[in-house]
């Protein structure tokens, strides 16, 4: 019962947050909306017994990634003016088509979700250690060790990439 309430609440917040990302003029507001959305998702994760992921979501996404976003937004926004009006109608049908096809996409996916026979059933009771750090760690470091190692490579590449980009910029000056 309680979890239902929490779900609807969190879902509403998530949608509002998403809408904020979509509609906010100001990138800072967008970013804040996204943080709200992420927080709501964190709650939903908790409802789905993904405690660790919920925390990671907040910690990494809200705590690091979005801060980085804000950092850049505030840095860039400092000197920018409002965009020129002449750009506004250059892509005349962009809004219309994007909305239309976004909606079609939603309908299609929802159609699939609702059409599947298993989908209306409730999930079974939580079993054992599902969702715990221990279970997660076991899965990550045994069965999915290789992907995990590969993310290390991805991060390394990202680090190198950022260093190179940063230096390039310095060299240009």
């Amino acid at each position: 019962m309680l979890s239902s309430v929490v779900f609807w609440l969190a879902a509403a917040v998530a949608i509002v947050g998403a809408g904020g990302v979509l509609l906010a003029r100001n990138p800072v507001h967008s970013a804040l909306s996204l943080v709200v959305n992420l927080a709501a998702l964190g709650v939903l994760f908790l409802l789905l017994h993904a405690e660790f992921l919920a925390v990671v979501e907040i910690l990494v996404y809200a705590g690091a990634v979005m801060v980085l976003f804000l950092f850049v937004v505030t840095l860039l926004m400092a000197g920018t003016k409002t965009p020129k009006e002449e750009h506004r109608f250059r892509l005349a049908y962009q809004f219309l088509l994007a909305g239309l096809f976004g909606f079609i996409l939603l309908v299609l996916v929802a159609h699939v979700m609702l059409g599947a026979d298993w989908i209306s059933s409730l999930a079974g009771p939580n079993v054992g250690s599902f969702g715990s750090i221990a279970a997660f760690g076991t899965a990550l470091f045994t069965q999915y060790l290789l992907p995990f190692e590969l993310t290390a490579v991805v991060l390394l590449v990202a680090v190198i990439g950022v260093i190179v980009l940063g230096r390039e910029h310095g060299a240009n000056r």
Binding site: H29, L32, V55, I58, V67, F71, V73, S132
Partner: protein, 326 residues
């Protein structure tokens, strides 16, 4: 339903406690700093200046609300709130005593205890940085903005080293649940085996709370007052509250992780807990009175090039040690 009520009660108690401690702390700090500098400190209001904080609070409460032109009103207003709420929330998972048995209920001495407790704490702490950056941005003031950016970079940077310094403890304790960590120190405080982690943690702790000598975001001789330059009145007070509550939070976390939490002989655990926190608080003031401020690039270099590698090595060493010990 009872659990909900218990949680609410606990939260209320804790909030009041923390907020009042904030007041006392401001006074303490001013007095202690005075002592350090061979002057009496506040001594007019109340006996020995003991009611100074009440006067300060009233003054702030009654101050005119000023919102700078060009500021983003909404963000400007919620920024201090975010800071304060995050600070208060973070304390929620700290166990400041053994579970209490009262009214036939077993009441854990923390508000919520997810098995990822310490991570939760870090998550919430990291949200606190929004208050700073948003305050800096929304003030429409270059000093504020620079202060906000500085604090953000600093906090994110030191959070890494801090998290890694704690990892050693987590490995040693074999759990991320703070209660388990505390009980793992029944015999031996982790400050012994994890002395490296402890030192790193303490350094990061100071940086995380933007306290001297890491108080660059509000370096008054460069940035006037950093991110809260444009803030005044209660909103400014909220930032102050957040800062002090954060100090308490990180101190209590240090206590929990390295100094055995509420463990201690003779005295009741809660008292022990408070004593340990008080030591840390004194340490904060001591630092402020003693050390000059770091230069910004040195600060970043120290965090990335010294603390982070050392913390990593510590984690590795701990992991190896634990693996061998098993």
């Amino acid at each position: 339903m009872a659990t909900v009520i218990i949680i609410l009660v606990k939260g209320l108690v804790l909030a009041i406690l923390l907020l009042s401690v904030f007041g006392i702390m401001t006074l303490t700090e001013r007095k202690v700093l005075g002592r350090f500098q061979f002057r009496p400190g506040p001594n007019r209001v109340g006996p020995g200046g003991s009611l100074q904080f009440v006067a300060d609070g009233l003054k702030l409460l009654l101050k005119e609300e000023i919102i700078p032109t060009g500021a983003d009103r909404f963000v400007y207003l919620i920024a201090p709130l975010i800071s304060l709420v995050a600070a208060l929330f973070a304390f929620a998972v700290i166990p400041w005593g053994p579970p209490l048995h009262i009214f036939g209920q077993t009441v854990p001495m923390e508000i919520g205890g997810p098995n990822v407790g310490i991570l939760f704490l870090f998550a919430i702490t990291s949200l606190g940085v929004y208050g700073l950056i948003l305050a800096g941005w929304s003030s429409h003031n270059k000093y504020s903005l620079l202060g906000g950016l500085r604090s953000t970079a600093q906090i994110i940077s030191y959070e890494l080293a801090m998290g890694l310094s704690v990892t050693g403890v987590l490995i040693a304790a074999g759990s991320a649940d703070l209660n388990n960590i505390v009980s793992a120190q029944r015999n031996l405080w982790f400050v012994g085996p994890q002395i490296v982690g402890f030192v790193i943690y303490v350094i990061c702790m100071v940086a995380e709370t933007n306290r001297a000598p890491f108080d660059l975001p509000e370096a008054e001789n460069e940035l006037v007052a950093g991110y809260h330059t444009e803030y005044s009145g209660m909103k400014w007070a909220m930032f102050m509250m957040a800062e002090y509550i954060n100090m308490i939070t990180v101190s209590s976390l240090a206590t929990t992780l390295f100094l055995g939490g509420w463990h201690g002989p003779w005295l009741p655990p809660e008292i022990w807990f408070v004593i340990k926190i008080a030591l840390f608080m004194f340490f904060f003031i001591w630092l402020r009175a003693t050390l000059p401020r770091l230069r910004y690039d040195r600060l970043m270099a120290f965090g990335w090039k010294v603390l982070l590698p050392v913390a990593l090595l510590n984690t590795l060493a701990t992991a190896v040690w634990v693996a061998i010990a098993r």
